[in-house]
């Protein structure tokens, strides 16, 4: 394992100290318990948005804290959900009197810890709503499983709902919008290499020099299938077909296309993926209205990418375009 770290046990703490040193102008970092909040929180009268999850997905979520997006983020250990005390502390710290939305990715651990925190916050008189994202088409969804994982759509939901909260929407409106974003979004991911959890010290899975995993999650879980590596155009075809068939996306749909790097894949490759995606969607009459290209929801140093499509309506579009000012995503500010 070669990483720019000191001690595998201190990775999350030192990362947070780095974030604190870098962004003290705009963020406040609590080290006990761990959370990151915008320094002007609580914003009086605004619905506050809190998210969180295991670390190792940077810039998600800590990098998305700031005006127009999250009020706070709670990082767990690498790939481990945060604990209720973190989430409770963050929720209390940013509550501006108009309720708090928890955006939770669909993993049992995340759900349970956020639920407990919400229960505790409610006991303290804070109104909390939770919305669970579950956009990963690689996982079978069923009443009898833990369901689909929450992946790329989470970034888009945090941006869009952050803008809605900033615009003065109330808690049930923001929550409702968040559910709509989740239900209109679909994602699929693939990996060319594994990642290595610092505490484990070795790659989570072994992949041959000519193999790739299709349908991976964001914690180094293996995917739907292992295949021989293929040209980017073919990989995109495979992923985009799975995504568009699922919702389904239809000719005439307006979408936001999000090409995400898994942490070890450089931008030059993401543009080649985007090119293929634009051609694929063009061929089906699906119109890309907005895009996001870069490494926003990662799996440590994994090489690979994910594609997220979100079917847009005018409200989402307006909130997507609204100003955002976070270390990881910034425009109009």
């Amino acid at each position: 394992m070669k990483k720019l770290i000191n001690n595998p046990e201190n990775v999350v703490r030192e990362e947070l100290e780095g974030i604190a040193a870098a962004h003290s102008d705009r963020l406040r970092v609590s080290l006990d318990p761990y959370y990151v909040m915008r320094s002007d929180a609580p914003v009086n009268g605004k619905v506050a948005i809190v998210s969180g999850g295991g670390s190792g997905h940077e810039p998600m979520h800590g990098g998305f804290v700031g005006p127009g997006m999250l009020d706070a983020a709670c990082p767990g250990e690498v790939f481990t959900s945060p604990t209720p005390d973190q989430i409770l502390a963050a929720t209390k710290a940013v509550s501006g009197g108009s309720g708090v939305l928890h955006i939770v990715k669909n993993y049992t651990g995340d759900i349970l810890n956020f639920e407990m925190a919400a229960d505790l916050a409610k006991e303290e008189g804070i109104e909390v709503e939770a919305v669970v994202t579950n956009d990963d088409v690689a996982v079978q969804d069923s009443l009898y499983t833990a369901g689909r994982r929450g992946v790329g759509v989470t970034v888009l939901a945090e941006k869009i709902c952050g803008a809605a909260a900033e615009a003065g929407r109330n808690l049930s409106q923001v929550a409702e919008l968040c559910r709509r974003v989740n239900s209109e979004g679909r994602t699929m991911g693939m990996a060319l290499t594994s990642c290595t959890v610092p505490a484990a010290g070795k790659p989570t899975f072994e992949l041959g020099d000519d193999e790739m995993e299709i349908g991976i999650g964001i914690h180094g879980e293996p995917g739907r299938q292992r295949r021989k590596v293929a040209p980017a155009d073919e990989i995109v075809d495979l992923m985009a077909t799975a995504i568009t068939d699922d919702l389904p996306f239809r000719s005439g749909d307006r979408v936001l296309a999000f090409v995400n790097g898994m942490g070890g894949t450089p931008l030059i490759e993401l543009y080649i993926v985007y090119r293929a995606l634009a051609r694929f969607l063009g061929g089906r009459g699906i119109s890309i209205q907005r895009n996001l290209i870069g490494s926003y929801i990662t799996s440590l140093e994994m090489a690979g990418c994910s594609i997220t499509l979100l079917r847009l309506d005018d409200e989402m579009l307006g909130y997507w375009d609204a100003p955002v000012n976070t270390p990881g995503l910034r425009w109009g500010a």
Binding site: P33, T80, D85, L112, E115, T145, H219
Partner: protein, 212 residues
């Protein structure tokens, strides 16, 4: 014949020791069908619990269980943290205001705690989770006490039922938790959470039966 504060603390230290001893084993079970951290998670939690429990001396059983619960909740994370936290939180609630617990008190408290775990995690029997060890254990305990058996042998029956339940998770296809992403590939492996729950029932029998 009942559960004293000392016996309740013995339950906690027995469980901490069992988790430490079986840390690798639990982690190995979780590597096969999860993300390979169950032993690490539980051990981190129980190591944090021990000094808190020692600092409590003289408190009541309810405070003890609540302290265990809050510590697990704030140090474990993942799925098992809130679930074991919920279990101990409910044990704390059920034992409120009681200096000692009768066998019946304990049996009711355990049943309520298992129900709380189920309500928190939405798992039903055969989902391949800790419920598959906890629920048979709690049911066996209640049934044996109702049949007039003594506390010690009833606790042993509960332990046996937990062990049996953990073993019976092997052929199951997981329907809850991270293992459910594996679908059919989860069959053939023993559930790590059911296994740690069996360890908890062993720790209970050892702590409570001796004091009888």
């Amino acid at each position: 014949m009942g559960v004293t504060y000392e016996q309740a603390t013995a339950l906690i230290s027995n469980f901490a020791a069992a988790v430490a001893t079986n840390k690798e084993y639990l982690t190995e079970l979780d590597s096969a069908i999860g993300d390979g951290d169950h032993g690490i998670n539980m051990d981190r939690g129980m190591r944090a619990v021990m000094p808190k429990v020692e600092a409590l001396s003289g408190a009541d059983i309810s405070t003890l269980f609540r302290t265990v619960a809050m510590t697990l909740i704030s140090t474990v994370g993942g799925a098992s943290g809130p679930l074991y936290g919920t279990l101990f939180l409910q044990l704390g609630t059920s034992s409120k205001g009681k200096a000692e617990l009768t066998p019946g008190d304990w049996s009711e408290a355990l049943a309520a705690a298992v129900a709380a775990v189920q309500s928190r995690g939405k798992a039903v029997p055969q989902d391949k989770t800790m419920v598959d060890a906890l629920l048979p254990a709690s049911q066996a305990l209640a049934a044996r006490l109702a049949a007039g058996d003594d506390f010690a042998s009833s606790l042993a029956a509960a332990e046996g039922a937990a062990h049996q339940g953990a073993l019976e998770t092997i052929p199951l296809v997981a329907r809850r938790g991270r293992a459910s992403y594996l679908g059919e590939r989860s069959a053939g492996h023993q559930d790590p959470g059911a296994t740690s729950s069996w360890l908890l029932m062993t720790a209970t029998r050892e702590a409570f039966a001796e004091g009888k």
